[in-house]
């Protein structure tokens, strides 16, 4: 038989065997048989002694081509086998991906402080400093500096926890404003501040009263601050907290530390102003008190009220949260049932 014929036959047969091999062991045997040191291709090379010298080169090239082909086919077959093995292994590793994952514990801010932080950040954006002050205050800062001298009838409006005749638990966070205004240097620009924090009043705790609650009071003092500025400021805050579609109105009111004094109502978010139980049929819900700072308050802080003036407002943080989230009992804030607290986990992301 012609060497070429033999080579062709070997090529066909080898390819067939490689394709048919089922495992690495068999494949290795085939490799040895075809391209091994004593394999069939080597034998063909050895039998070249009988071939014409000019044909030898040709045969040699043909043998090498077949060897390369076998090597490539063997490699491919080996890789394919490994791949299949891996696939089999992975198939055996199947798990139920619908089972829940292992979640890390993630805590949450109290809803009162979610509300407080939201307001603080809003005012920071408007250029306000957030200022803290003592919760155990003096009568002087809590009342007298705020234009509530001893014997002022409006002190009846605020039942106070006194510690002694001079010291008390603050009933409002406005004493922080008095303290800050007293120290403020107007050479550095206007005073724009909010003072958030706990306040205390002698109320029996029930669904709508709490002896401890939270306020955020704001103060802006400069040479040309107007009531229109107050109105504009309150409107943007109300819309920020209660929604851009809310309408607002100002009503005259009375606070000893502001004149004129107003209260702000927003259109009821339950009924959109139609009148319902939440707004007691009026279509409006009272949300805060405010006004132009009383000249006595400015003078008490050692600032000339003929030159400087401005506005102040007081936001009940608890009240804002109650209204915004539809909370029915103020005691829920302070009993801290974890099921109550947990429901506000996503609020900060909104």
């Amino acid at each position: 038989m012609d060497l070429f014929e033999k080579l062709n036959k070997l090529k066909e047969q080898g390819e067939k065997e490689i394709k048919a091999s089922q495992n690495e062991q068999v494949l290795n045997d085939i490799r040895v048989k075809l391209v091994g040191k004593k394999g069939e291709l080597t034998q063909i090379l050895h039998s070249m002694r009988d071939v014409d010298a000019e044909k030898r080169k040709e045969v040699g090239q043909a043998v090498n081509t077949v060897r390369d082909q076998f090597n490539q086919q063997l490699q491919e077959a080996k890789e394919k086998m490994a791949e299949e093995l891996m696939q089999k292994k992975l198939a055996a590793e199947a798990i139920d991906v619908t089972l829940p994952g292992k979640k890390p514990n993630v805590g949450n801010t109290h809803v009162i402080n979610i509300m407080a932080e939201d307001l603080e950040k809003f005012f920071i954006g408007l250029g306000y400093q957030v200022v803290q002050g003592p919760e155990v205050e003096t009568d002087h800062y809590n009342f007298e500096m705020m234009n509530l001298p001893k014997d002022h009838p409006a002190r009846d409006m605020q039942d106070t926890f006194y510690i002694n005749p001079e010291n008390l638990l603050r009933t409002q966070t406005s004493p922080v404003q008095a303290r800050t205004l007293e120290k403020h240097d107007f050479a550095n620009g206007p005073l724009k501040m909010v003072s958030p924090g706990k306040v205390y009043r002698r109320d029996d705790d029930d669904a709508t009263h709490s002896h401890q609650f939270n306020q955020l009071e704001g103060l802006v003092i400069d040479k040309n601050v107007t009531m229109a500025d107050l109105k504009g400021t309150l409107e943007v805050v109300a819309k920020h907290v209660f929604g851009q579609n809310r309408e607002t109105r100002l009503r005259p009111s009375f606070f000893p530390f502001t004149e004129p004094s107003v209260e702000m109502d927003v259109s009821c978010f339950k009924c959109n102003g139609e009148g319902c139980a939440t707004c007691k049929g009026t279509g409006w819900i009272e949300v805060l008190g405010a006004g132009m700072v009383h000249p006595n308050v400015i003078e008490n802080a050692g600032v000339d009220s003929n030159v400087y003036g401005g506005f102040a407002f007081g936001i009940g943080i608890d009240r804002f949260a109650i209204l915004k989230y539809g909370i029915s009992d103020i005691r829920d804030f302070y009993t801290n049932d974890v099921r109550f607290l947990g429901q506000f986990q996503q609020e900060e992301a909104k």
Partner: protein
């Protein structure tokens, strides 16, 4: 204050819809909490005339009445009221009518007898119990005069009216009268109200020469009396009763009703004395003397305070000024001559007296908040005239005067520029003058300066800011522009201290804790727990109850209240924290400190199906504290030592030290405390943040990541049980040489395999040389040095 729309029509020409008017008043002056239309929801309720009455055959308390209700035939009605009688004119709810509470009345049988409707009490057609005349409080209402049967009752009883509930702020006491309300409404609708003049006939001779009044001139700036003879006590006329009950005042008799009516109209409280009781013909108004007593109208005997102002007959108190009359000087059926007192008392004095004796009244409220000084004489005259008309009285000529000071006229100057500057408006001087005219204020304008004379009835106005408010509200807050403050830019932000606290809170929340807010006020016992603070508690002087007497010195006891609350509701997997202040006092100074505290109970993932939940224990809690200190970069300054603190487990609690300062604790809450909480194991920590907030923590100075690999060696030690980790680590670090970077304990074993007095502790040591690759020799030398030192100092055996 309840303001009747119909009554307002005496002074103003009102054509505006009452609800629209209420909205306008709310927006410009006084909040109207409610507009009540008394007949709203009622129908088919008419006057009936009881023709005859018989006992019900099957009942001992029901009566069967034949009632003329203006129809062809009388109708039969069964009635159970004790006061029903023949020939009465009564309120009849017909078949198909609707009474108060949206209740329908239908023809029915009562114990077998047909009843074609219902004879009503005032309460049944919507009257408040507090205004129903006493004689009809427990039965049906009976008209005191003849009324055509079949007439709807609504007009007859004044129910065709709109009652505005004025929610009056303390400064606007000027509207605690119909006159004040009329001025307010008039300003809003741009009408000047008109008021009638009063002058009694005064046909009896002048009495003022036979009577002497002297007063404390400082506390009683005005004190006037008129004397009326021969009054006959009787029910007031219907119109007067209607005005009173629509104003929320119960009609009593003509004399009392007239004094109340005058107060409602003018705002001036009056008091009527039985003149015959003042036998001395003298009135002396003075402060009480210590030990003095008097019996009041309501029959209570009170001990007078030397600061109480009393009306006396020269010797004995006959009334507590401005608050309540005395029992002895009360006007009764036997009274012949009445003294009408119209006065202005010092508001603070009256307020304190009313508070002291817990007797606030309509009168004391008005004295406290202020009166119109122009109405003192008018009110006395008005009362005298009405007593002539409705109580058959005859007035003596003359008013006896104890004091009659005048209030100096207050003139406030203000400029258009100032008003516009404060309001942010561009009002013209003419527009401002117009507003003051609407308010009834007299003005005089020079250029742009307006001099405003404040009438005495507006005793709430003192300074230009008050006038600016008047302009703003009448102009309308709705009409103000909306702007934001302009001017020099300011930097908004938190203080760096607050920034840090906010950051700490976020760190703690990322460790899985839920924030709680607990009460600062707590019991003395709880306030002093979980703390080593030796300073005194801050106590409130008048606590509401024994649970809220003192300001807390720790946060943990508040959080433990929250734990108890949750455990009682079967919530036992708890990870809670609080950031807030604690308080103490030392040498008269009050101090506040920011604290951070947390508790852990249960496991951290109780329903995990792979059981990868961790049971919270001491080391869990301590790990959280350590993670917190890691995150704020002060771990190398922190150490832990056993400590005993009330409320905490005596042997499972560590004090947390910042360098040498005790700043907090971490450990197990004493199981005695949690016995009532289903014996839950609770672990927690509390840290005083103040020393941490004061630390200056430098900015990180960056280093490249190490170029040479670190080498780890494990060390297994057998040690005496009492030897602590702190001791072992100290020796290791001291002897580890300069390449020892980290020492981590990775196993602690006590048990069967080793002696009972011993424990096995294993450490992993990490060595790093930043300059070159470490050789085995260097490390072996270091380890040998460590083990030798451990053996020598702590009798450690290396295993």
């Amino acid at each position: 204050m309840l303001v009747s729309y119909n009554w307002l029509k005496d002074y103003l020409n009102l054509v505006i819809d009452p609800k629209d008017l209420a909205e306008k008043i709310t927006r410009t002056g006084i909040e109207i909490a409610d507009v009540n239309h008394p007949m709203e929801g009622l129908k088919k309720i008419v006057v009936g005339h009881i023709l005859s009455i018989e006992n019900h055959p099957d009942s001992d308390h029901l009566k069967v009445a034949q009632v003329d209700v203006g129809e062809e035939e009388p109708i039969q009605i069964v009635c159970g009221a004790p006061n029903v009688a023949a020939d009465q004119y009564v309120i009849v709810a017909l078949h198909g009518s609707r009474i108060a509470g949206n209740e329908k009345i239908k023809r029915s049988k009562m114990r077998g007898v047909v009843s074609n409707g219902m004879i009503c009490a005032l309460q049944e057609i919507g009257f408040d119990e507090s205004v129903v005349p006493k004689q009809y409080a427990n039965g049906i209402y009976v008209f005191e005069h003849m009324v055509e049967p079949g007439t709807p009752v609504f007009n007859e009883l004044g129910m065709y009216d709109y009652i505005f509930d004025f929610d009056i702020t303390p400064n606007r006491a000027d509207t605690l009268s119909m006159e004040g309300a009329a001025h307010e409404v008039g300003a809003i609708i741009d009408q000047l109200p008109k008021f009638a003049d009063f002058a009694p006939k005064a046909e009896l001779p002048d009495w003022t020469n036979d009577f002497k009044i002297s007063v404390d001139e400082e506390l009683v700036p005005k004190y006037l009396m008129r004397k009326v003879h021969g009054v006959k006590i009787a029910p007031s006329p219907m119109w007067l009763q209607i005005r009173l009950w629509n104003a929320g005042v119960r009609p009593i008799n003509n004399v009392v009703d007239i004094t109340n009516y005058v107060m409602l109209e003018t705002g001036q409280p009056l008091h009527a004395f039985d003149a015959n009781v003042i036998k001395t013909n003298e009135i002396l108004v003075r402060q009480a003397v210590a030990g003095e007593k008097m019996q009041l109208l309501n029959e209570t005997m009170i001990d007078l305070d030397p600061k109480d102002l009393v009306i006396t007959d020269g010797k004995t108190p006959v009334a507590l000024a401005g608050v309540m009359g005395g029992l002895d000087s009360e006007v009764t059926d036997a009274t012949e001559d009445v003294l009408i007192e119209s006065a202005v008392f010092d508001g603070t004095s009256i307020r304190k007296t009313a508070q002291r004796h817990n007797m606030r009244s309509e009168a004391s409220n008005r004295f406290e908040k202020g009166l119109n000084w122009d109405n003192t004489q008018k009110a006395a005259d008005m009362a005298a005239e009405l007593l002539e008309k409705y109580a058959m009285g005859q007035t003596y000529e003359g008013t006896c005067v104890g004091n009659n000071q005048d209030k100096p006229k207050l003139v406030i100057k203000i400029t258009t520029t100032k008003i516009n500057k404060v309001l942010g408006t561009e009002l013209t001087t003419a527009a401002i003058e117009k507003i003051f005219a609407q308010l009834g204020f007299v003005t005089e304008t020079t250029g742009e300066e307006i001099a405003v004379t404040v009438p005495n009835r507006r005793f709430d106005i003192f300074i230009d800011a008050d006038l600016i408010e008047e302009v703003a509200r009448i102009y309308g807050y709705d009409n103000l522009p909306s702007t934001l403050p302009v001017g020099q830019q300011t930097l908004g932000g938190y203080s760096s201290r607050q920034d840090k606290i906010n950051h700490y809170k976020k760190l703690i929340e990322h460790l899985g804790l839920f924030e709680t807010i607990n009460y600062s006020l707590t019991s003395k016992e709880k306030a002093k727990m979980f703390t080593t603070n030796k300073n005194d508690l801050i106590d409130v002087s008048w606590p509401m109850n024994s649970e809220r007497t003192s300001m807390r010195q720790n946060l943990l006891s508040g959080i433990m209240d929250t734990v108890a609350y949750n455990v009682a509701r079967n919530q036992k997997e708890l990870r809670l924290y609080e950031q807030g202040r604690v308080f103490d006092t030392f040498n008269g100074e009050f101090d506040e400190y920011e604290h951070l505290a947390a508790v852990y109970a249960g496991t951290d993932d109780p329903t995990n199906w792979q059981h990868l939940d961790a049971k919270t224990d001491f080391y869990y809690a301590k790990g959280q504290v350590e993670a917190f200190f890691d995150q704020i970069g002060i771990t190398d300054k922190i150490s832990y030592q056993p400590i005993q603190v009330s409320g905490m487990h005596p042997t499972r609690t560590a004090g947390i030290y910042l360098e040498s300062q005790l700043i907090g604790l971490v450990g197990q809450v004493n199981p005695i405390m949690t016995k009532k909480m289903k014996s839950l194991d609770v672990y927690g920590f509390e840290i005083n943040l103040e020393p941490i907030l004061d630390l200056e923590i430098p900015t990180t100075n960056a280093k490249p990541a190490p170029k040479f690999p670190s080498i780890k060696r494990d060390l297994s030690l057998l040690v005496n049980k009492k030897v602590t980790n702190n001791q072992l680590v100290a020796v290791i670090e001291e002897n580890g040489g300069k390449y020892l970077q980290n020492v981590t304990v990775f196993d602690v074993y006590q048990g069967e395999k080793i002696a009972p007095s011993k424990k096995s502790v294993a450490y992993q040591l990490t060595f790093v040389n930043e300059e070159e690759t470490l050789t085995d020799e260097v490390i072996t030398n270091s380890v040998e040095k460590i083990t030798n030192a451990l053996a020598e100092k702590l009798e450690v055996v290396v295993r």
